[in-house]
Amino acid sequence: MSAVAPIEVPSRAATHAGDASLDEALLALALRQADSPLVLAQRLCEWIGKAPILEEDIAQANVGLDLVGQARLWYAYAGEIEVRMGRVARGEDDFAFRRDASAFRNVLLVEQPNGDFAHTIVRQFLFDAAQHLALDALARSRDARVAAIAAKAAKEVDYHVERSADWVVRLGDGTAESHERMQRALDALWPYTGELFDADATDLALAEAGFGVDPRTLAAQWRETVDAVLADATLARPADGYVQRGGRDGRHSEHLGHLLCELQFLQRAYPDARW
């Protein structure tokens, strides 16, 4: 993870400084914002070489690379926050490759297996639609770094959600088989969407201070977007029921451990290996 040029971000002086409990909350925000795209990018990588068509193979990898880029910016910021809190300096690679599953703060939705192409697309759309709203809100954060990273990521996610929504409509309103597969994927993944709008003390403290956003305030607009796309796709929104949650606190499904085995293997077996 070293070949990408860093984006221009405001200097440390322009950002929040001082308050220890807010720093702790900002650190949690940075890791939550970093881990979801990283894990989803790893899932998208699994399609490389075997996506349904060549063009889609490249497109999936592009989205994955966008997400890795976003994760890197958040990790870099998380490292800086830790340093100003007087902790040992950690770099992007430390966060990505040297934490165990329970230290990851991604939502459960993104670690779910690729399944068929319908599962991959539905997972992507449900996440993109929420992420789009979250990043737009974070781009107005009073913390200049959070705002800058979110604004850059939001531009990429604008395209991601357009693309994944397009596929949801094409496949939902496609053949009998594609429709059935899409509905099955939607039913399977719906219980993981509740977690996208959970708010805990950290979220509320950040929202209160103007540094973050209360995820609950995004739910209605997300539902509006999702409903419109599902209607176009002739898919039925599943009933709300049991919500699978815990990822944002480090309680993950068994899938994450397997994913990390592959993601982290090289750095675990050959620490500090370089290209």
Binding site: I53, L54, E55, E56, I58, A59, N62, D166, R170
Partner: protein, 102 residues
């Protein structure tokens, strides 16, 4: 003709020719081709396949089937007659330095 009850044969998506206008380019240039189900998908795919390295500011897509080409066999008849008509080139006029894009 058979009745329309059978599943239609699986067809390849049509081929599209992709034209990109680069950052400072004045015209769209042909960059390659790809498969897509329709024009909207062709534009998206072109974005992902051909503009990954910041190549473009505008994309045109054209169905390959809609492009009509001159026949290679007609090359002599079409183009050779221009060979000896040097007076058609604008090289006999001095051009002021200020004139760009020529």
């Amino acid at each position: 003709m058979s009745t329309d009850t059978a599943t239609p044969p699986r067809a390849e998506w049509p081929l599209w020719e992709i034209f990109i206008r680069s950052q400072h380019g004045l015209a769209h240039k042909h960059v390659g081709s790809l498969h897509a189900a329709d024009a909207a998908m062709a534009v998206k795919n072109a974005r992902d396949v051909y503009t990954r390295r910041n190549e473009g500011v505008s994309i045109w897509v054209v169905r390959a089937a809609d492009i009509h080409a001159s026949a290679p066999g007609d090359k002599a008849a079409l183009f050779d007659p221009a060979n000896d008509k040097v007076y058609r080139h604008p090289t006999f006029f001095p051009m002021p330095d200020e004139v760009k894009h020529l």
